[in-house]
């Protein structure tokens, strides 16, 4: 039996009719049509499908759409501002932290979750590394990614 599921994705409300076995990832990609969220391993190891669900980063492949009913989802498409890419996206561009780009949406959302949940904490590099440990970069471009996130940590600590 299909279930009616209400999801707010990037501020837009969606009513979906889904089978229980449809993951949040497939709902976002196939039903809502937002393909910025990537499907890598589909078993929660690579983090390419990372989205922010009700304020917390999760692997969208390890969440059923029916479980997320009523939830608020932020995907990479929701970060863009009227004036272009947001702060984190810009930092990734500035630091050359994007190679093939497949891990980038998940990396950026993990970075966003880290920064937003630690507004009053002086994060060090080991915390940044730990925060993206669930996001694999097959280009192994970790150094630049860490530098990009650290630049934001430093920027927010100046504020």
């Amino acid at each position: 039996m299909k279930h009616q599921v209400r999801l707010t994705v990037n501020g837009v409300s969606h009513e979906l009719l889904v089978e229980p076995r449809v993951t949040l990832l497939d709902a976002i990609r196939e039903l809502i049509g937002l393909t910025g969220t990537k499907k890598g391993c589909d078993t929660g190891d690579c983090g390419a499908c990372t989205v922010i669900l009700n304020g917390k980063s999760v692997n969208a492949c390890l969440c059923l759409a029916v479980e997320a009913d009523g939830g608020e989802v932020l995907t990479i498409e929701g970060l863009r501002t009227d004036s272009g890419p947001d702060l984190i996206q810009n930092a990734f561009i500035e630091h050359g932290a994007i190679q093939c780009g497949f891990c980038t949406p998940g990396m950026i959302l993990s970075a966003k979750a880290l920064l937003e949940n630690n507004l009053d904490v002086d994060l060090d590099e080991s915390q940044v590394t730990a925060a993206i440990s669930g996001n694999l970069c097959r280009c192994t471009g970790y150094e630049k990614i860490i530098q990009a996130i650290m630049s934001l940590v430093q920027r927010s600590s100046i504020k």
Binding site: P20, L62, L64, S133, N135
Partner: protein, 292 residues
């Protein structure tokens, strides 16, 4: 993934009714971070998933002086990791929570799920074992309290009956003050299962450094996370010395029962047990103010 029905009961009695109705054909889902992988890989194919997340009162952390820590089964690993109560009352559990999976997994995975999955490598289990934890299990017929040590029957197997739900984890207040340490050895620093996990709880007499309490639990070296009683008695009641720690670590490596697999050969895991048990005891002794 094969198709299944999905039910999200609003309260626990509805959940019991669903369990009654669908029995063996159903599976409970908490965080789902492990279950969904098993469904995708075809290891499990239930007809009905019963989601416990909509039931209020199954998550949360509270501490009472007389009874200790009460952790709702649906409490996420991230909530444990960020709980001040846990950090103060059970630092060893706090330590293990931060070593489980990734941030994304910890945000969804639950303590009850980690226990009921009964994986030999479950990260939260060895700390809970050395803290003498109990689990509260409810069914339509009432409630029973089981020592966590007696809860596991084998890899993936527990004493939980089909009509029961594990609702709470109880960590009684320690009879004497002590320190716990969890050490996990993985093939990589994060996002991996424990090749070997070692948890200790140690209480030393502050003057004589006689060992008043010592509990040791091991992960990934037996079908289920295990207490190493034979190694515990080596330290019990004795003055802790380097050589006694060596004998204890030796007893631990002999009492465990690892298998050779992709994570390592049996002999290697035994060696790891020896090294990590010794290290964990020394770290705990250090926390107790003893220099070795």
């Amino acid at each position: 993934m094969k198709s299944f029905e999905y039910i999200a009961p609003k309260d626990i009695s509805q959940a019991f009714n669903s369990l009654e109705e669908f029995g063996e054909e159903s599976k409970l889902i908490a965080g789902g971070t492990d279950l969904l992988v098993q469904l995708k890989q075809g290891h499990l194919a239930p007809k009905v998933l019963i989601d416990l997340k909509k039931i209020s009162g199954l998550s949360g952390i509270r501490f009472e002086k007389s009874t200790g820590l009460h952790i709702g089964a649906l409490t996420t690993v991230a909530e444990i990791e960020s709980s001040k109560i846990i950090r103060v009352q059970s630092p060893v559990l706090f330590q293990a929570a931060g070593l489980l999976g990734s941030v994304q997994v910890r945000n969804k995975a639950t303590i009850g799920g980690n226990i009921c999955r009964a994986a030999p490598s479950g990260d939260l289990i060895p700390p809970l074992l050395v803290l003498n934890s109990k689990v509260i299990i409810k069914s339509i017929n009432g409630e029973r309290v089981v020592d966590l040590e007696d809860f596991f029957l084998g890899s993936g197997k527990t004493t939980l009956k089909k009509n029961e739900i594990l609702t709470e984890i109880l960590v009684p207040p320690p009879k004497v003050a002590g320190d716990g340490v969890y050490i996990k050895h993985g093939r990589r620093k994060s996002m991996d299962l424990a090749v070997v996990g070692v948890a200790v709880f140690l209480s030393l007499n502050p003057e004589s450094f006689l060992c008043e309490r010592f509990r040791l639990a091991l992960a990934s070296v037996a079908p289920v996370p295990m207490r190493a009683h034979e190694a515990e008695i080596v330290l019990h009641g004795n003055k802790v010395t380097e050589s006694l720690i060596d004998s204890c670590a030796d007893a631990a490596m002999k009492t465990c029962n690892p298998i050779s697999d992709v994570y390592g050969e049996e002999w290697f895991k035994r060696e790891l047990v020896k090294v990590l048990v010794s290290r964990a005891i020394k770290n705990a002794a250090h926390l107790q103010g003893m220099k070795l």
